[in-house]
Amino acid sequence: MKILFDLDGTITAQETLPVIAQHFRVEDKITELTQQTVQGNVPFIESFIRRVNILGNLPVSEISNLLVKVPLYPKLYAFIQQHKDDCIVVTGNLSCWCKGLEEKLQCKTYCSEAEVVDDRVVKLKTILRKEQIVDLYKAQGEQVVFVGDGNNDLEAMRHADISIATGLTHNPARSLYAICDYIIFNEQALCRQLNQLL
């Protein structure tokens, strides 16, 4: 069994993009876009390209260092640490921005990719489609659990054997209600369910 996690608002106790936006004082542009994306009103890929255009000229190393400081849900973090080989993070965020977080989580992480020159994003190379990672592990014969909260987790949840919508940081996107197996709003209950699944 492999447990795939969305990152923002699922493992992190805050959405990461608003943190970046606030730090670099571009929150007006980012906050509304993030809210609209989480609620499913702006398609994820369009939103992501627009976000990268806004944030791409900011120093990559500084963003990575900033994201390391974003608080994680402690019980969930401990669960991931105990089950490193079975836990996988799947995030649409850029790998260059998540480098520090990835090292902190110490588990396999899949991200979107960008070309970085002189500590700046110069070109978006790939946008992660989370359902492809679900399919990848299913093709290896694994039973796949997907844990997420946003509209951009919808297809991954649909492809997964078991899907858990979480409402730890904010309510899960309503679109997930139509397809998910579980909805859990509490970190302890989530960890209990994950332990029951293993």
Binding site: Y177, D181, Y182, I183, F185, N186, A189, Q193, Q196
Partner: protein, 212 residues
């Protein structure tokens, strides 16, 4: 015992026979929603699982007023399946022993405490009070021998407790899931389910005297 036994409350159905235009979990009993009464009775149960379907959003919203650490399970096929499917979905990733509890069932609080303390598998039944009930036939020790649509010693009301090793998918009624394992230990309780408007009025009166 409450901390290691999972409790699955099935609230996915449409409650069509009741005729109040609400799923039964949201029906008000003397000013309190049915689900809030159940939440009070299960306040010491760690792994409380609620299966939702019809009016899922409204049930989740109501439950969250009282408790946040509930695991909600979706039965997306609530219209074409019965309580067996909801129990299976609620129980398949739960603890070793799972107590099934219909969302329209109220049990006397003293009996709830007794039920939660029981070990192993068992089936609860009550004195006969309904014409369209499913009945249970018992032996001299109260063990359940058979379920019957025609006749029996008591009325099947639930709850019932099953070991996860015995859990098999069933789209039919939850009691059908227990039939392969009969005879099974029986426990007589003061239990009332709310299927019709008459049931609703009767239970509203009975509950007035309960101390939760």
């Amino acid at each position: 015992m409450s901390s290691i036994k999972s409790v699955v409350i099935s609230c996915a159905g449409i409650g069509s026979r009741l005729g109040l235009g609400l799923t039964k979990a949201l029906v008000k009993i003397n000013g309190c929603s049915l689900i809030s009464l159940q939440l009070e009775m299960f306040k010491d149960v760690e792994d409380l699982r609620i299966v939702v379907g019809f009016q899922a959003n409204d049930i989740i919203e109501e439950v969250m007023k009282y408790r946040q650490d509930v695991t909600f399970i979706f039965n997306h096929r609530y219209f074409e399946t019965k309580t067996g499917a909801s129990f299976y979905l609620g129980a398949r990733h739960a603890n070793e022993y799972i107590l099934e509890w219909d969302g329209d069932l109220l049990v006397h609080p003293d009996d709830v405490r007794t039920i939660l303390e029981q070990e192993g598998e068992f089936i609860c039944y009550a004195d006969k009070s309904s014409e369209e009930a499913v009945f249970v036939k018992t032996d001299e020790h109260g063990n359940v021998l058979e379920f019957s649509r025609e006749c029996g010693d008591y009325e099947w009301t639930g709850p019932a407790c099953l070991c996860k090793d015995h859990l098999v998918y069933c789209s039919n009624n939850v009691y059908n899931m227990f039939e392969p394992f009969l005879p099974m230990r029986g426990i007589k309780v003061r239990a009332y389910d709310i299927d019709t408007y008459q049931d609703y009025m009767r239970v509203s009166e009975i509950v007035k005297n309960w101390k939760l």
